[in-house]
């Protein structure tokens, strides 16, 4: 157990092997994988980092263990240590037993017997985990050949086809001969899963398998993992930072912090009855897509401890609002808490915490900020940005010398919307739907753009000279997705923030004053201005990026996925900051995000884009609570909710296939090829979808509301583009997990 690390010289005479042998005996005999006292150390410039400190768990056959934690908590290192994939420079101690056989200390060659056979892994990035020069068939057959040398060629091929069919790849026989680049990201991840389950593994480790994918594709891949587990009966270790993803899948959860498990237990206990403040904070930091009520998120302040120094007290104490002096005396061991037997937490106060304690009180979430614009009706506020029928078409040409135009990619196709003062407008959609192109079109601000962009009363049609352009630049600033990439690594914070100010012609003294103001505004220590970006954490870097955008006092800030690169707890802090700034400075935001929960939390209005067109637009609560377009419905249903009960029982629409290429968009409705409603329609009605393009229509007020009101109600702020919004989705695309009985207690 982990307490033995600190035990020191007393245990010295007892050899590590003996100690582990004793520990191994405690493991339940039927566990397929049991890990005891796993420790991993790395060497860095600053000293030896103790990345994993005493991880213990037992995995029962056919069960799913979810390992959750922030980046740097040691989740991935644990999985790599089990697989024996850590670099030789790392020191791994402890015991990993697969069906009673010790895996640690085996040579690379001996490990190969297990890897891909009884132990298999699915990696995070599907784009780089397949070899580009071999066909996927080759790569699946390779996995089969290594562990079944006696298998005949035909048998292997037949099995490969079976596997591809199992992970839901259409026409598997033909696709066997396709190369990885001919597959989309989601499809490649399916192939990775097929390779992983090729030899009927007993344990399948999935390391953030859906983090790099779109929500709709994530839902598909999670579904495939689910089937794969059912087919092979493998135990799954699911590593993720997204509490929603594991809520519906896992049987047990292990929350890791600073290289140690801080809370373990059955999934329901962890979600409904957390006993460790860190777990509570994590749950409170995630915005919920299914909740309309506006409340601030819970930020966990500070950052994870430095694992170079052995912690003397509870490693979470510096960030814990409940910490007392007692917390600083010795690291608490993982101890059982009152309630279910398997539920354990590493907190001396676990007895007094539980489901009935409100996390907002514990973590002192800031009050919901109120903007001065909130009271003014939207129609009376002035417009800061207006797009009128903006199009961006890329010609697709063929031929080296004489370029023939063979088609057009309609990245953005006739977009119109406006943003009023003090409001946050979001654009959501899968990748490839044209969100980023829209942003670039706005930022480029060219005269010869197709369509009109009006920023603060300045139209792009008259932006000929540099003066108008720089006036426009002062109205509009941008915050980038990747806070690290957006800051020049060679600039100090002062230089980063001074650049826009100098450019606007501000003198030195004023620049200095303004920079100090900005630092305070975004919640950074003013005397940090002389530091370089690499000396800050991800959340702080994003704050610097926000400060830079605010430097010239813009009216509108364009946010391109501002929190998607951040950890959950840090993300909450940045979202709260954005909310506060919007209210206090009267800013407007144009937000592009794929995380609908974040969108729901922060925005006032939302537009759903599909293949360059807006399919539904309106007030955020109306669109999310009462989605009319089938695509919006599918998007919303694809988002996992951090609520195990709900997640297991709710009905989900799983879209078939990927986003079609915008090259050959159909004549009628763009969405018809994947539409769940379309699939269930009679042929006569399908004809209409295929030939006519649905216009954006106003939603009529509900009949009930109309009868109640004396005079005709104003139309609600919601428009959508679909002929059959009330159509029932196709049965095949609906999935309910509970019916499978897999997760029944």
């Amino acid at each position: 157990m982990s307490s033995e690390i600190a035990a020191g010289p007393v245990d010295q005479p007892q050899s590590a092997v003996e100690r582990l042998h004793v520990a191994g005996l405690h493991a339940p005999a039927d566990a397929i994988l049991s890990v005891r006292d796993l420790n991993v150390r790395f060497n860095t410039e600053n000293g030896v980092v103790h990345a994993v400190r005493g991880v213990d768990f037992d995995l029962m056959p056919g069960k799913t263990l979810g390992i959750v934690g922030e980046s740097g908590s040691g989740k991935s290192v644990t999985s790599l240590a089990i697989m024996g994939l850590l670099p030789t420079t790392a020191e791994v101690t402890g015991s990993v037993r697969l069906k009673g056989r010790e895996l640690l200390g085996l040579s690379d060659k001996a490990m190969c017997e297990f890897r891909g056979n009884e132990l298999a892994m699915v990696f995070q990035d599907p784009l780089s985990s397949l070899t580009p020069v071999y066909t996927v068939g080759n790569q699946i057959i390779e996995a089969l050949t290594i562990h079944n040398p006696a298998m005949s060629k035909q048998a292997k091929e037949a099995h490969a086809v079976e596997l591809l069919a199992m992970v839901g790849i259409p026409s598997p026989k033909e696709r066997l001969r396709a190369f990885p680049h001919e597959f989309s990201g989601g499809m490649r991840q399916r192939v990775m899963i097929a390779i992983a389950i090729a030899n009927n593994p007993r344990v399948l480790i999935a390391d953030e398998p859906t983090t790099a994918l779109d929500v709709t594709i994530q839902a598909q891949v999670l579904e495939v993992l689910h089937t794969a587990q059912e087919e092979t009966g493998a135990a799954v270790v699911m590593i993720t930072h997204d509490l929603g993803v594991v809520a519906g899948m896992a049987d047990d959860i292990m929350v890791m912090y600073a290289g140690r498990p801080v809370e373990t237990g059955a999934v329901d206990d962890i979600y409904y009855n957390p006993r460790m403040p860190y777990t509570m904070g994590l749950l409170g930091a995630v915005p919920r897509v299914d909740v309309a009520e506006k409340s601030s998120l819970v930020p966990i302040e500070g950052m994870p401890p430095n694992l170079i120094h052995a912690p003397t007290g509870c490693s979470f104490a510096p960030r814990c609002p409940l910490a007392t002096d007692a917390c600083l005396e010795g690291e608490p061991a993982l101890a059982p808490v009152p309630g279910p037997a398997a539920h354990r937490a590493a907190c001396i106060k676990s007895g007094s915490l539980g489901g009935d304690v409100d996390v907002h009180d514990v973590f002192a979430a800031p009050p919901v900020p109120v903007s001065r614009f909130d009271a003014i009706p939207r129609e009376e506020r002035s417009t800061v940005l207006q797009l009128k029928d903006v199009r961006k078409h890329f010609p697709l040409t063929k031929g080296a010398l004489l370029k023939r135009r063979i088609g057009t990619v309609k990245a953005v196709d006739g977009l119109s919307f406006d943003i009023r003062e003090g409001e946050c407008f979001s654009i959501v959609g899968e990748s490839g739907s044209g969100k980023t192109t829209t942003l670039l079109e706005i930022m480029e601000f060219h005269k010869d753009q197709d369509g009109e962009v009006v920023i603060g009363g300045i139209s792009n049609k008259q932006a000929a000279d540099g003066k108008t352009r720089s006036a426009m630049r002062r109205e509009l600033q941008m915050v980038f997705q990747d806070p690290t990439g957006a800051l020049d690594p060679r600039f100090t914070v002062y230089e980063v923030l001074a650049e826009p100010l100098q450019n606007a012609g501000m003198n030195k003294a004023d620049t200095k004053k303004r920079i100090m103001e900005l630092m305070k505004l975004v919640g950074l220590q003013p005397d940090h201005v002389n530091r370089f970006p690499n000396q800050f954490s991800g959340g702080q870097r994003q704050r610097i990026g926000i400060a830079r955008a605010l430097a010239v006092n813009p009216k509108l800030v364009v946010l391109d996925e501002p929190v998607s690169a951040l950890d959950v707890s840090v993300q909450a802090g940045v979202i709260n900051l954005l909310d506060k700034l919007r209210a206090e400075l009267g800013l407007s935001y144009l937000l592009v995000a794929h995380d609908l929960s974040v969108v729901r939390h922060i925005s006032n209005r939302v537009a759903v884009m599909y293949l360059g067109k807006i399919v539904e637009i309106g007030e955020v609560d109306r669109v999310f609570d009462n989605p009319r377009h089938p695509y919006t419905r599918a998007l919303l249903s694809a988002i996992p909710v951090p609520d195990p009960q709900l997640e297991r029982t709710r009905e989900r629409i799983i879209l078939q296939g990927d986003l079609p290429s915008p090259l050959g968009t159909p004549k009628g409705c763009n969405f018809a090829t994947r539409c769940p409603v379309f699939a269930a329609l009679p042929a006569a009605k399908q004809e209409k979808c295929l030939t006519l393009e649905p216009p954006l229509e106003q939603v009529a007020p509900s009949p009930a509301a109309q009868t109640l009101a004396a005079e005709p109600l104003p139309a609600p702020d919601q428009r959508f583009a679909c002929f059959f919004p009330d159509g029932e989705p196709d049965e095949d695309m609906l999935v309910v997990h509970e019916s499978a009985g897999h997760h029944a207690p």
């Binding site: 860095t44 600053n46 420079t89 020191e91 950052m303 020049d488």
Partner: protein
């Protein structure tokens, strides 16, 4: 409403954390440490520095110089009077080696530094402007690459260019010719590197702020390819020294009365049997010179490369610590 001037407690906590845990190590410190950890590279640096010092002060240790003929010692092996012997013409080899090393290092350093500078400016300009500018500049670059450098050197230093040769010492002429033909490869590398930098968000951010192009190239692009430039300088120095030796060896580089390592080696090849010291001494010096640079370059690459395993293994250190602890208890 919350107070705008309140400092975020999260930031304060993080700050305290950063300060107490000394996690912040300057990048230069890290690079220096990593370089120093590579023993070969440090040895290379020491040899190179020693040779440079030798080439400047070595002349004071002997009364002979590269022109004075000693009629009593013609073609003599090393002796107390002539440390490294004399040539066929009776000139002191030690004096010639000192002079030759200096000229070779001079050529190497000037060509290495200036060609990288030219390449950096040229490459960044190509990458930033792109389009037509890029096409024309790339065409010039390709044309220069395809030009037979050997012939041009031969013509410039021996055949034509009478006026040039009268006005300039032969080593300066060689430097100019070498410069013209040495920067293209690096420029192309820098072009592609800057093109990928152009895609980075901080360049986009500067553009969206309306920062003018010249400022972006100078403030954002050039500093960010700094580590590549340092590596390329050492590589360029080696290349220039080798080129000088090669050209002088075949008789089209440095001309007598100027001496360089190449001239010495080239002149002695026919007499390896009779005057072996005339051949082996300059050859050894050349090996030391280029070899030390190569050793240094390897260490620099390790130091600059963030993915290198230069920080070492955790196993060795903890094992060592455990042993120390075991001994103590």
């Amino acid at each position: 409403m919350t107070n705008l001037n309140a400092v975020d407690p999260a930031a304060v906590a993080q700050d305290a954390h950063l300060e107490s845990a000394d996690v912040v190590i300057g990048k230069n410190t890290i690079i220096f440490r990593r370089f120093m950890r590579n023993k070969t590279a440090v040895a290379g640096l020491a040899i190179f520095l020693a040779l440079t010092v030798f080439s400047f002060v070595g002349g004071y240790f002997t009364e002979w110089d590269k022109q004075t003929i000693d009629p009593f010692n013609i073609g003599m092996p090393p002796s107390a009077e002539h440390y490294l012997g004399t040539s066929q013409a009776g000139i002191d080899l030690y004096a010639m080696t000192v002079e030759g090393t200096r000229i070779s290092i001079l050529i190497g350093l000037i060509v290495g530094l200036v060609s990288v500078l030219v390449a950096a400016v040229y490459g960044c300009t190509m990458a930033y402007f792109g389009g037509k500018v890029d096409k024309v500049m790339l065409f010039i670059l390709e044309a220069l690459i395809m030009m037979p450098a050997l012939l041009v050197v031969a013509v410039a230093t021996s055949g034509g260019g009478e006026g040039l040769r009268r006005d300039l010492p032969s080593w300066l002429l060689l430097i100019i010719v070498l410069l013209v033909f040495s920067w293209m490869g690096t420029a192309r590398l820098i072009r592609s590197l800057s093109m990928s930098l152009m895609q980075r968000d901080f360049v986009k951010a500067a553009q969206y702020m309306g920062v003018p192009a010249r400022r972006i190239v100078w403030r954002h692009l050039v500093p960010n390819i700094g580590s590549l430039l340092v590596l390329d300088i050492t590589r360029g120095v080696t290349g220039a020294i080798l080129a000088e030796v090669a050209f002088s060896f075949i008789g089209i580089g440095i001309k007598v009365p100027d001496v360089s390592l190449g001239v010495l080696i080239g002149g002695a090849t026919s007499q390896v049997q009779t005057f072996p010291w005339m051949f082996w001494v300059p050859l050894t010096v050349m090996f030391l010179l280029t070899g030390s640079l190569a050793m240094m370059n390897d260490g620099l690459r390790d130091a600059f490369d963030p993915s290198s395993s230069s920080s070492g293994s955790a196993k060795k250190r903890t094992a060592l610590k455990a042993r120390v602890k075991g001994n103590a208890s």
